[in-house]
């Protein structure tokens, strides 16, 4: 599996020479992906987040392009989930800026928005899937209700429209529709992740954030969920930021990878390059630490 084969084949820019200067993160010779001929959808720079004396994230730069899957790997406590929470506008950073190339908001630092505008961006343009479904779902409400809630927040008040949207979104995430009115607490782990995914996709967001989406699932279910993710990514050409410590998941989905350690990005590059030819000592350790 190569990173190139994951990219949407519809990309019109294939083969066009790169016009932007290659960014140097110590890899001046590395050509950025062809997608980078467009301006990135997501640019976050100088992210710093401290919790008391602990510095969780220290000067992290993230950029992601339309239709790209960006993987973030690292050991537990390396700050990858904090980065994701910042990108989801759930928390405010101690320093840093964050822009999404959305209509009317291009160039606007999203951390500087008031809470109404922030909530609007969060609801309409960002979808998120947590490792722990208890964080993302109301376990005692119906699965379809969990999906419909996203539309309710944006002001949809027609019961028929909510039903139709919930059905469509659940079908897209390959959830068995005869169970759409069961509460998630009665569903298996894989199905709970599919409900989370349907909820995240209900408003057709530009950016999808996945926080260890398949950790805790057994290998066969994991493969099915990854399959669904890949298909959706191909069909909708969403930008996905995928946090995982599982290099297999990263290899299967991601185009580019950031490697984090102690709140800093230690290496970044194409997935193949990072996984086959890691440069940083920590990445080498990570890649070779297979059971």
């Amino acid at each position: 599996m190569t990173a190139t084969s994951n990219r949407p084949s519809s990309s019109p820019d294939k083969g066009v020479p790169v016009s932007q200067p290659a960014r140097t993160h110590g890899y001046a010779s590395l050509q950025p992906p062809v997608l980078t001929t467009r301006s990135p959808l997501l640019v976050a720079s100088g992210l710093v987040k401290r919790y008391g004396r602990v510095t969780a994230v220290e000067g992290v730069e993230v950029d992601a392009y339309e239709g790209e899957v960006l993987g973030i790997v690292g050991e537990s406590g390396s700050g990858k989930s904090t980065v994701l929470r910042l990108l989801n506008l759930q928390e405010s950073p101690d320093a840093g800026t964050y822009t999404l190339d959305l209509p009317g908001l291009a160039g606007q630092d999203l951390f500087a928005l008031d809470r109404f505008a922030r909530r609007d961006v969060q609801t309409r343009s960002i979808g998120v899937v947590y490792q722990n479904p208890y964080l993302g779902l109301r376990m005692r409400f119906t699965s379809s209700g969990n999906v419909a809630e996203r539309l309710l927040i944006t002001g949809e008040r027609s019961y028929a429209a909510l039903r139709a949207a919930a059905r469509e979104s659940l079908a897209a995430s390959e959830f068995p529709l005869d169970r759409m009115d069961d509460p998630p607490r009665l569903l298996s782990g894989g199905m709970q992740q599919r409900v989370q995914l349907a909820k995240a996709l209900a408003l057709k967001p530009r950016l999808l954030l996945l926080d260890e989406p398949t950790t805790g699932l057994d290998v066969s279910v994991q493969a099915l969920v990854l399959d669904t993710l890949k298909r959706l990514q191909r069909e909708r050409s969403m930008t996905i930021v995928l946090v995982s410590h599982d290099l297999g998941v990263i290899r299967a989905l991601a185009d580019r990878v950031l490697v984090m350690r102690n709140g800093r990005v230690v290496e970044r590059g194409l997935t193949d390059q990072i996984l086959e030819d890691p440069q940083h000592a920590y990445t080498q350790q990570l890649v070779h630490a297979r059971l």
Binding site: F141, T142, S144, G145, L152, I153, G155
Partner: protein
């Protein structure tokens, strides 16, 4: 020279209407604020009373703050004037204030009620005090109370429809028995928590003042006279009150009023008017005031209740 003793009040065992003057003043000021901001939950210092929290301390404090010797008090518990809780509260209020009591909703100036709004329409200068167990309509979707306050401040009520959605999915109709959320004056959603759905429309554009007070939660809110109260509903599934068509009161023969269901030993059920003051009038052929729902179940504000939609 005047002695100090001549200026002082004669010694009393209790302050008038039990609460001390500063407590009553605070309550009246909170009530005024609540009237000024319809539906907004005003915090207040809920005082200790000789009844336990959860037995109507909120309503009792509001009544005690408003009662005077010229007041006529009616106390209702589950529609009845003669249940233990109603009898106790009524005796306490009158003993502490010297107010008169009645079971006639049309004659009362202060009506303290636990679950029901009387069937007869209330008029101007009548005050309905409802005892509220749970003032927070957002509790079902947001357990964090400080986040709920923020949602109220932002009018961020979308998630409340999730509660209605769940009812429609499971039962194909709205089934909530009490606390059916309603939008007051187009701004704040309230949980009129003790009253059944049947009584929700009665809050709309009524000439009387409605005070809802929660003693344990230390919050009170009001529906001022002539204020819009709209129960939440989906645009394609209108709000409905309880379907009690065909239920006939066994003692008065009344129909299309809120009934108590009395299960019989043979498995059938008999029905009885929930509003005992109204039933008493009907039994004794006394003149009654116009009611909210007419004999055919029509509501007195034309077009307020829409015809039902049957979901597949």
């Amino acid at each position: 020279m005047t002695a100090l003793a001549d200026l002082a009040h004669p010694r009393q065992d209790y302050s008038y209407a039990f609460l001390d003057a500063s407590a009553k003043r605070e309550l009246r000021r909170r009530i005024l604020k609540a009237v000024a901001i319809p539906g907004y939950q005003v915090p207040y210092a809920s005082r200790e009373l000789p009844i336990a929290r959860g037995w109507g301390t909120g309503g009792l404090q509001a009544s005690l703050a408003l009662v005077g010797p010229e007041s006529v008090v009616k106390v209702i518990d589950q529609g009845a004037d003669d249940s233990v809780n109603a009898a106790n509260l009524r005796r306490f209020i009158t003993r502490m204030s010297g107010a008169a009591t009645t079971t006639d909703a049309a004659r009362a100036s202060i009506l303290q009620s636990r679950h029901r709004i009387p069937e007869e329409r209330l008029g101007a200068y009548q005050t309905l005090v409802l005892q509220v167990p749970d003032p927070e309509p957002l509790r079902g979707v947001q357990s964090d109370i400080s986040k709920a306050h923020e949602m109220h401040a932002d009018s961020d009520y979308g998630q409340l429809w999730l509660l209605l959605y769940e009812q429609l999915v499971r039962f194909r109709q709205y089934v909530q028995g009490a606390s059916y959320p309603a939008l007051v004056n187009g701004r704040y959603v309230i949980s009129p928590s003790p009253i059944p759905r049947w009584d929700n429309p009665k809050l709309h554009q009524t000439p009387s003042l409605t005070i809802l007070a929660a003693g344990r939660e230390k919050r009170l809110y009001t529906v001022p006279p002539y204020t819009n109260v709209i129960p939440l509903e989906f645009s394609d599934v209108p709000f409905q009150v309880e379907d009690q068509r065909g239920w006939v009161c066994r003692t008065t023969g009344a129909v299309n009023k809120f009934m108590n269901e009395l299960p019989q030993s043979d498995g059938s059920a008999m029905y009885e008017l929930s509003d005992s003051g109204y039933a008493e009038k009907l039994k004794n052929d006394l003149p009654t005031a116009p009611t909210y729902y007419d004999e055919n179940g029509g509501f007195y504000h034309d077009g307020y209740l829409k015809p039902p939609v049957i979901l597949p």
